[in-house]
Amino acid sequence: MVYDASTRMTVTVLLFASYAEALGAASLDVELDDDSTVEDVLAQIRARPGADRLPPAPLVAVNQRYAGAGSAVREGDEVALIPPVAGG
């Protein structure tokens, strides 16, 4: 069997508060190569209508932990864009 380096995967990106309003959805599915990173997710999100209302580098969480732009994103990961928090 030949190893296929370009397998594609679908990742669901959760959206909240002002980001959910901007993009008009509580979550978006994005198509990615299976060796993708947080930055690749953001590139996909930036192409969506309403993404101009997001900051250039929004915070991202992968599996409920804050993750940098270079962090790996794998099939089945829970990815979320985190607007500026305002708890308390």
């Binding site: 909240f16 997001l54 969480a61 979320a80 985190i82 500026p84 928090v85 305002a86 708890g87 308390g88």
Partner: protein, 148 residues
């Protein structure tokens, strides 16, 4: 045992929280309550709704309570954050801290609320008397304008 952190959609039972951290070893208990103010940054507020990334918010709140115990010499911490619609004067967050001594109790309580505000994925939308609602960005205040 009471969980270290909870998210609730009903009024917070602050007395239960105080009792959860009280013990024969703890000489000092500190309860911090955050409440909805009628006027914020000069605008008349009629209420706030709180939303959260619930799984991660709970995980972060628990982590904060556990880290506080390490940083502040076994401080016993419980955190409850309320979600949903709150009216003016209602309590949105309650943090109970107990310690043998008050120095550590004050330091831990203050650290917990600052960490909560810094990193827990919870958002609030203020409702104003003119009927408008806006998500609050503590850095730039309200998200009325796109952040570029």
């Amino acid at each position: 045992m009471t969980p270290l952190a909870t998210l609730v959609r009903a009024p917070i039972d602050v007395l239960a929280l105080v009792e959860a951290v009280s013990s024969a070893a703890n000489g000092a208990v500190l309860l911090f309550l955050g409440a909805v103010r009628q006027v914020n940054d000069g605008r008349d507020v009629t209420g706030i709704d709180y939303a959260a990334y619930e799984g991660m918010a709970l995980r972060e709140l628990q982590a904060i309570a556990e880290e506080a115990a390490v940083r502040f010499d076994s401080a016993d911490v419980r955190i409850v954050h309320r979600l949903g619609e709150l009216g003016v004067e209602e309590v949105s967050v309650a943090i109970a801290v107990a310690h043998a001594h008050r120095d550590a109790a004050y330091a831990a309580s203050r650290w917990v609320i600052e960490e909560l505000k810094r990193r827990v994925p919870i958002w609030k939308r203020e409702h104003y008397v003119d009927g408008t609602r806006e998500w609050v960005d503590p850095a730039g205040r309200v998200n009325a304008e796109p952040v570029r």
